[in-house]
Symmetry: C2
Subunit: 337 residues, 2 copies
DNA sequence: AACATCTTGTCAATCGATTGCAAAAAGTGT
DNA sequence: ACACTTTTTGCAATCGATTGACAAGATGTT
């Protein structure tokens, strides 16, 4: 039960494989007489002919494949961005559709290196990384010599890649400003792992505004090992041990915020009365909670659209003069602060 | 800056491409003299040679690629299963590593069809579907004539595919039994969309035990449009309108349960005093909540391992006499019930 | 009628690695 | 030194689609 290939189909129709190829293609279809083209398309459809994309890739040098690196497949924001990027990439219905090769790094530089090699071996047309850390700089630069590499969500300090980012610093600043306006005097951050620039920038923006508006950030820094609700939950003890006690918390993402809130509830503390909290990302969760979570809305649509455009343009023309962009998030104030 | 290919590498070393190919392969490396082999491997490493897998795929007829269909990339359980399957598939370090092609169907039969065609065009060695609904039966059967198709998590009634499933019916039954033991007399389910066999079976198992233990299931059926917390939240009004009022709820997954709980909290109702709740899947969330959620632990490890084994064996030998298996979940009683 | 132009289709090379077959080289025994 | 086995290497076909070059035929122009 071998698959039907183009040669056989051509034979059956009494034409050359070249004619079949052109008739079925998007861009060269005009080179074959309308009648023949239709006949071939009919027959191909009827016979269930499916072109072999590995052969096509080999010959063309283009795979219509894009590798995408993400640190954690469980993160809603990453997934939203991936979805949206590929929605934009496939929206151009003239171009053949692009298959994403999705891979998870879990922030291991080794895994990243391996995965990038795999991508290149499979001849992806471009690589999008939502997972870059500084440890990956060299690998990504190497890769960029062969295919376009686009960064989204996470930047790498000191390396210039085409990128589509959220202005995390501005986001952090917004939260601090909000706290200032609500009259909080003593505040604290529950910080995500400083591995990725994301969390560093959120912290930075927050601290800058605190300093300028003379809000006191508690000297004790609270870091969660991972940006998850379980880790967030575990930080409450440390938070409560801080003296003087903060009245508002900036959690670096919604999962961390949820963890803190649940731990608080467990102890009978109320939010926002006992402790105000703001998260980051505006995930589904933040809307569900009985005390809806104040948070910073991530500009998923803009980031994804720009990342998609960068990829599309760079694939079409590797020397395209790209423009990296930073999109501003927006504060959403709900009941938790 | 064209990539180095095997021909050039061979030329540089003064050997034939065939020798290079064999030296770098896993299975044929013994055919080349140890000294030559080492020399070639060194040179390949130094030159940063990376074999072109599309060419290799074309020639071999094997892509070392597996297509995986999932209905929703935002679902933690699906993601866990995907991760675990590929961990098992790659564990065999003798075999070359397998690249997953992950695609999301969102339960649209059209999308499923398109994605399967893409998989086949890209010559995947097998397809794993975690997303099958009855609407996909024909498409999957077609696909199965070309490559092994393995089902995980979701079965299709009336079609025989190699599969690795959770005994959802048993899971539902466990919840009902638990309610009976706790003395609940009137209970209700918050059901997921009956599109997938999963939810049907959970409902069935629950109802069967209710009937046999003479617990009353409220005549009104509650269906959530999607198995998400937002949808779960919206069901509370309907739940409270039921008379006589149920004292315990079986939510078909943890997200639905969370939605109900948050809606309850919003109204000042307490869990489990006012309404006991059990979810399904034992997601991270269920552990975080201040009132930890009773739930049914999904046998992720077993399902994934078996799915991985089916795939591995069927790729090695398409006529492998497979055994479909059903793994039993287990009830985890926490504070919510 | 002669010639240019356009359409349609064929031929054959090509992408890069793999592998069956056979030749060359090395090793063994007498 | 010779016959013979075993190891190592090279040759060339192959996987399936794409595409530049070109030929044959159709159409138009003067």
């Amino acid at each position: 039960m071998a698959r039907l290939n183009m040669r056989e189909l051509a034979l059956k129709l009494g034409v050359d494989r070249a004619t079949v190829s052109r008739a079925l293609s998007n861009d060269k279809a005009h080179l074959v007489a309308p009648a023949t083209r239709e006949r071939i398309r009919q027959a191909a459809g009827a016979a269930g002919y499916r072109p072999d994309l590995t052969a096509a890739t080999l010959r063309r040098g283009r795979s219509h494949t894009v590798g995408i690196l993400v640190s954690d497949l469980g993160n809603e924001t990453f997934i939203d961005v991936i979805r949206t990027i590929f929605r934009h990439l496939d929206a151009r219905s003239d171009a053949p559709s692009i298959t994403p090769l999705i891979a998870e790094t879990l922030d291991h530089p080794d895994a990243t290196r391996r995965l990038i090699h795999t991508f290149l071996s499979r001849r992806v047309d471009a690589i999008i990384s939502l997972a870059s850390t500084e440890a990956d700089t060299a690998i990504l630069q190497d890769a960029a010599r062969e295919v376009p590499v686009v960064l989204a969500i996470r930047a790498i300090a000191g390396a210039v890649f085409p990128s589509a980012l959220c202005d995390d610093r501005a986001g952090g600043a917004m939260v601090a400003t909000h706290f200032a306006e609500r009259g909080h005097k003593i505040v604290c951050q529950v910080q995500g792992p400083p591995l990725s620039a994301t969390f560093k920038n959120r912290a930075l923006g927050f601290s800058e505004v605190c300093a300028s508006r003379s809000i006191v950030e508690t000297p004790q820094r609270i870091f969660a090992e991972t940006a998850t609700s379980a880790a967030g939950k575990r930080t409450l003890d440390a938070l409560l041990a801080i003296s003087p006690r903060p009245t508002a918390i900036f959690a670096h993402n919604d999962a961390l915020a949820l963890g803190v809130i649940e731990a608080m509830r467990h102890r009978g503390l109320r939010c926002p009365e006992d402790l105000a909290i703001v998260g980051f990302n505006n995930t589904q969760l933040s809307r569900i909670l009985a005390v809806p979570l104040s948070t910073v809305d991530y500009p998923v649509e803009e980031v994804s659209r720009h990342a998609g455009e960068l990829v599309r343009n760079l694939i079409a023309d590797p020397s395209y003069r790209f423009e990296s962009r930073l999109f501003t998030p927006s504060l959403i104030v709900r009941a938790s602060s």
